[in-house]
């Protein structure tokens, strides 16, 4: 399935590095200054700084990278061990008005399982001080396409429906800052596309939306601005497409099982298809910066040499290795 690219969003801004200027004048919503969070000897987030304005920004990182901890610090749910976090120029932990401008859909599955979807979202509206909380809840549930009058309790909902109810609760106060921790987990492809479209609509309306994900392709559909976090550190940030190119330019390691590894390896080197070749336990292991070229030339070359190809395995094609590369090159 080919999806249309998300609309360009000129209002989004992501800045990383030393913080200068006036946040209010610069329309900055979120600021993190040298934020570190340690749990005993484990450092979950290390010296992260960035500023965000209105628009959609994706926080990308593998599981355990520190995304949820960073989100919790932004919301004030946990305090940084070092550094500062400001939302609308204030500390959400201490300022209840700031908390009223935040919508959070947490990653954890916990909900008040004995409530129906309408009751759950109405509770969120009431705790935000909204006049007519039930009407607001109905509107919000409508946005995520959940029936407000369903008799089921949220405890009996599927993972995808629970995600959407959490999203409705996060949206019910029309927040200026929407923080969504892995909101697409458990959704089917149709729901994902609808939610992504909704995020983009809200971003276009001037909201600051921060969405985390550990799935690279998901982030590609979310928007053009990303922050990459790996091992608790800021690995990269900025435009998605530039980062994607950077990721694609990294050397790729591939293992080939063949009946004549040395002969095939020598030919590959001779043609310049790979930069490095070695034979490990009768398998050919090679490094290439151009996977496309390698893919196109390997099969004809094997035919030409009369060599059997039995297996082709990318050794570093997982997201973790991409993040490792980004961290190592900093």
């Amino acid at each position: 399935m080919t999806l249309p690219p998300p609309p360009p969003d000129p209002t989004t801004r992501v800045e990383v590095g030393p913080m200068v200027g006036d946040p209010i004048a610069d329309n900055i919503v979120v600021e993190a200054f040298g934020v570190t969070k340690a749990f005993g000897d484990v450092v979950a987030v290390s010296d992260v700084s960035f500023r965000l304005g209105p628009g959609l920004t994706a926080l990308l990182g593998p599981n355990g990278a520190g995304k949820s901890t960073l989100f919790r610090m932004l919301c004030g749910l946990t305090q940084p061990s070092k550094g500062n976090v400001r939302v609308f120029g204030k500390n959400a932990r201490r300022d209840r008005n700031v908390r009223g401008r935040i919508g959070l859909a947490p990653q954890q599955d916990a909900m008040f399982d004995r409530l129906s979807a309408l009751e759950f979202v109405t509770l969120a509206a009431a705790t935000h001080g909204i006049v007519g909380p039930e009407a607001a809840a109905r509107r919000s549930l409508d946005l995520v396409e959940i029936s407000a009058d369903g008799p089921k309790r949220v405890g009996a909902f599927s993972k995808g429906m629970r995600q959407r109810v959490k999203l409705a609760a996060a949206l019910v106060n029309d927040p200026d800052l929407l923080i969504l921790d892995e909101p697409l987990t458990g959704l089917d492809p149709v729901q994902r596309n609808r939610m992504i479209a909704l995020f983009n609509e809200l971003a276009a309306a001037g909201k600051c939306i921060l969405v985390s994900s550990h799935v690279l392709d998901e982030v590609a559909r979310l928007g053009s601005n990303i922050i990459v976090i790996a091992q608790g550190r800021l690995a990269a940030s900025g435009d998605y497409h530039a980062l994607r190119e950077l990721m694609d330019d990294r050397p790729h390691r591939i293992r080939v099982r063949t009946d004549q590894p040395r002969r095939l390896g020598a030919a590959i080197l001779e043609r310049g298809v790979a930069e490095g070749v070695s034979v490990v336990e009768d398998r050919l292991v090679l490094d290439t910066r151009d996977v496309g070229l390698f893919g196109r030339q390997l099969a004809p070359l094997a035919v030409e040499l009369g060599v059997e190809l039995n297996e082709l395995v990318p050794l570093d094609d997982d997201l973790e290795s991409v993040f490792r590369y980004l961290v190592e090159r900093r």
């Binding site: 919790r72 919301c75 004030g76 749910l77 946990t78 305090q79 959400a92 209840r96 008005n97 908390r99 009223g100 401008r101 935040i102 959070l104 947490p106 954890q108 599955d109 916990a110 909900m111 008040f112 004995r114 409530l115 509770l123 969120a124 009431a126 705790t127 935000h128 001080g129 909204i130 609760a169 106060n173 029309d174």
Partner: protein, 244 residues
């Protein structure tokens, strides 16, 4: 978005926590505990070997009602009121809102008291009637149970936001501190809720109980101070704690 007023925040929290607290399993288990007291009281009330029904009645109510039923019922509901939301991660849906922390603490305390009061006062009052020792015992039991539930609920509400597995810590507190250490002398009795419920029983029935030597006024005033202090500590803890 306007901040939520304290009264409204208290009401919202109260309704939510009340709904979360009342489960069939909890209520049945605690009713079974209370039933033991009622049955023993019935047996004692029907016995013809009791020389002084009031003295025996006060001792029984103190031993079973105020050592077990009142603190255990209050512990189960008050520790769960915020402790469960903290442990299962749902506290975020109250915490990250434009609401003060005190209304959350107050609403949760009121919810736990609302469930605990009928589950303690009714069986204790029935037991006092079955003991057939006069109206003073019934009145003293009801007042002492009311004071005890309110006080224990505030203490255990704080425990629920202070430690993990608050029920285990609460049982240890009830058995070791209230049940054992508080028996060592007047000074330690004053640091246990049971010292005050026992003083109310003593004051209203004129039956002497060890370490129940405080006046009626102190028996009510000090628990009131404990309640206010525990609620203030719970609010402070909510403000300072890390929320999952």
């Amino acid at each position: 978005m306007a901040a939520v007023g304290n009264l409204r925040a208290t009401t919202i929290t109260y309704r939510l926590i009340l709904r979360q607290l009342v489960t069939g399993g909890r209520v049945l288990a605690l009713l079974a505990l209370s039933a033991v007291l009622v049955l023993v009281s019935l047996a004692v009330g029907l016995s013809e070997d009791v020389e002084d029904p009031l003295e025996v009645g006060v001792a029984l109510i103190d031993l079973m009602g105020f050592t077990l039923v009142v603190p255990i019922v209050a512990l189960v509901f008050a520790a769960a009121a915020l402790g469960d939301t903290r442990e299962d991660g749902t506290l975020v849906y109250l915490w990250l809102r434009p609401m003060g922390r005190s209304p959350i603490a107050l609403g949760a305390w009121l919810a736990s008291v609302s469930v605990s009061v009928p589950l303690t006062l009714l069986p204790l009052a029935v037991s006092a009637v079955l003991l057939d020792a006069g109206s003073d015992l019934v009145a003293a039991t009801i007042l002492a149970a009311f004071v005890g539930v309110l006080t224990y609920a505030a203490v255990f509400l704080f425990l629920g936001v202070l430690v993990r597995n608050p029920v285990i810590w609460g049982v240890v507190y009830i058995l070791l501190w209230e049940g054992l250490v508080a028996q060592f002398g007047a000074a330690t009795a004053r640091m246990a809720v049971r010292g005050y419920t026992r003083s109310i029983l003593t004051s209203m029935t004129d039956v002497d109980l060890d370490l129940g030597t405080l006046s009626m006024t102190m028996g009510i005033l000090v628990p009131a101070v404990i309640v206010v202090s525990a609620l203030a500590l719970t609010s402070w803890r909510l403000n300072e704690m890390e929320v999952a």
